[in-house]
Symmetry: none
């Protein structure tokens, strides 16, 4: 009975009271996701924690998927934000320096809320892939690809995907294992990236 459920919010309210409810729902969902993973995410629980009735929740979201989708959208947007600065800063630098700058930004992004971001990445992998998210992802990729192309790397799409996946994998594993020193993680990951890029890892 999977009815290709709609993933976009029903209305994005502008009035303050509505706005508050809308945000409350998202915040509650994020907290639950962080604490209990996707298994714990159910509309009744979200509404309750948001201090809002289920009815209201459904006023703004056509279903639970849509809530998750909106969270994905936001975290992706934030990633774009986080990376954009780095990409600008990386412009004109050597590939080695550029890699370091972007990596650093990326790690900081994931470290903000590791559990939540891991959960949202999982959801993103499973979800039918929303247009808007795709658009953001494309922008992120485009930035990365641009940077890579600047340094005349072949198949920059593949490179972007590889580096993203490698980094995600390692960073999540490290954070999951209890590490907190981001610089440490970065110091270990950078040589791998440099190696991938064919640069001498011993800077």
């Amino acid at each position: 009975m999977t009815h290709a459920a709609p993933l976009s919010p029903r209305k994005t309210p502008r009035q303050s009271r509505s706005r508050a409810s809308y945000e409350a729902v998202l915040t509650a969902a994020a907290q639950i996701l962080e604490r209990d993973g996707i298994a714990g995410l159910n509309t009744n629980a979200v509404a309750e924690r948001a201090g809002v009735s289920v009815g209201t929740l459904y006023q703004y979201f056509p279903g639970k998927e849509a809530i998750a989708a909106e969270l994905v959208r936001r975290i992706k947007a934030q990633l774009l934000d986080d990376l954009t600065g780095a990409l600008v800063a990386a412009q004109g630098r050597s590939l080695r320096e550029a890699a370091q700058i972007v990596l650093s930004a990326s790690i900081r992004h994931h470290a903000r809320a590791p559990e939540l971001s891991r959960e949202l990445e999982r959801i993103e992998e499973d979800l039918p892939l929303d247009d808007e998210v795709a658009a953001i992802t494309d922008k992120v990729h485009a930035g990365l690809i641009g940077l890579l192309a600047e340094h005349a790397l072949p198949a920059p799409e593949v490179v972007a995907r590889d580096l993203t996946a490698m980094s995600r994998g390692m960073v999540h594993a490290a954070l999951f294992a209890g590490e907190t020193d981001l610089a440490q993680i970065e110091r270990r990951l950078l040589p791998a990236i440099l190696g991938y890029l064919g640069l001498d890892p011993r800077g």
Copy 2:
């Protein structure tokens, strides 16, 4: 109120009739997991696909978690198997060669059933972590750590974790994106690993 659900099978039957049912359940579960992910894994579906009644399923497993746990156990055991050969072959080789051998084995392992192995890895991350699985994981790690220690690498546990996570991440992403040429993937991943290890990636 997460009731620390029991994860071990109820009985591991040796008689042919039972054995067949037991295996049918596991096979069905693996197929469902592969097709629909953990969300689709429910006792009724598994029983039906296994051509067995729910009652029979419960005869052997105290619940769906236990089925998943057994699958995790098996895939880990297989990984151990797959790696053991590689680790033996790697003995006495240079770090560079050793890395290549192990990586190759690891990729082949994941490529057998990418969706399933990804799903099982997720499950493993979420599960309370079963003693038996922990034991197998330890053996895998011990093998890796031994190899790394042979080459006088510091903090081999961290290195093992980092490399495992990086590789998993990238390999899954590549397979997910539709790549099928394992050699290709290996050729991209190896330099990253060499870089991580501080070796010159351009062999």
Copy 3:
């Protein structure tokens, strides 16, 4: 693995709509209990007879035990009510008169719905014994004990228990056998009680 099931209602609604459902569930449960005993008490049957969905039932009660517990609570409260009047009336009377007054009230209490009250007494014996019920039971006992102490009887707790149990047993048996003349029953039981109390049964 008896999970100390929760016995208190989830919410005791005050709004008319909810209130009606809540009461409907209790009424239905009482009827079923009366007709089929505890074996027939299952959530589906209760919900159906109450003209309510299972979901609604679970909105108010965490499980069938909780429904039974609430019925026990109510009948005990009613017993307390019924006896309180009698105890007041018995004050200052002779022990013989007092016994007769209390007995009479007690019989009338049981005769209201003999099947139901017998079933609820059984349940009460089996249940983990709820705080609230314990409190009511204590009050009932306290009343009885007070009365007995007034007449300088030793070990009034034991006496209260003995008389209660004897009466229950005989009254239920008589009603079960089809007797309907309460006065008859009372006339037979009273001498036993007087005898127990060491008074001359031939008043």
Copy 4:
């Protein structure tokens, strides 16, 4: 689907091995009944505890009810046994003495396995009432009635029922409350019975 299940054993085996299984089932059932009450009585559990397969259980009993019924039959037969001696001893004695003798036997009967006997009494009340049990019960009653008639008591059937019920009620309550001194219980109950019979309780 209550098919008026048959209550008599399928066959009462005479061969030693069969006999042993048959008895093992009954013993197991009694133990479970004693420990967990009727709720815990299920055929699989009984068979397992009896060290016998379910198939074998069904060889001898057409269903779980039949097992319970047989236990009821036996305990009733035992009661008859226990009382018969007392009734003989009571013959020719004064009513007061006779009452004391029978009461004493009755208390001893219940005290052998209070939990079990209470559980079986409940079952008996609920069961469709088996012919054989009815026959035994009649004999018990007849004995009692004979004794009562000997002393020219009117409506001896009612008296028998009343006294039985009163005694049961009080004895079970006392045992349930943890009392172990049977003589104590008897000393309290006797005057009630004497009172009931219109005799001076202060012997």
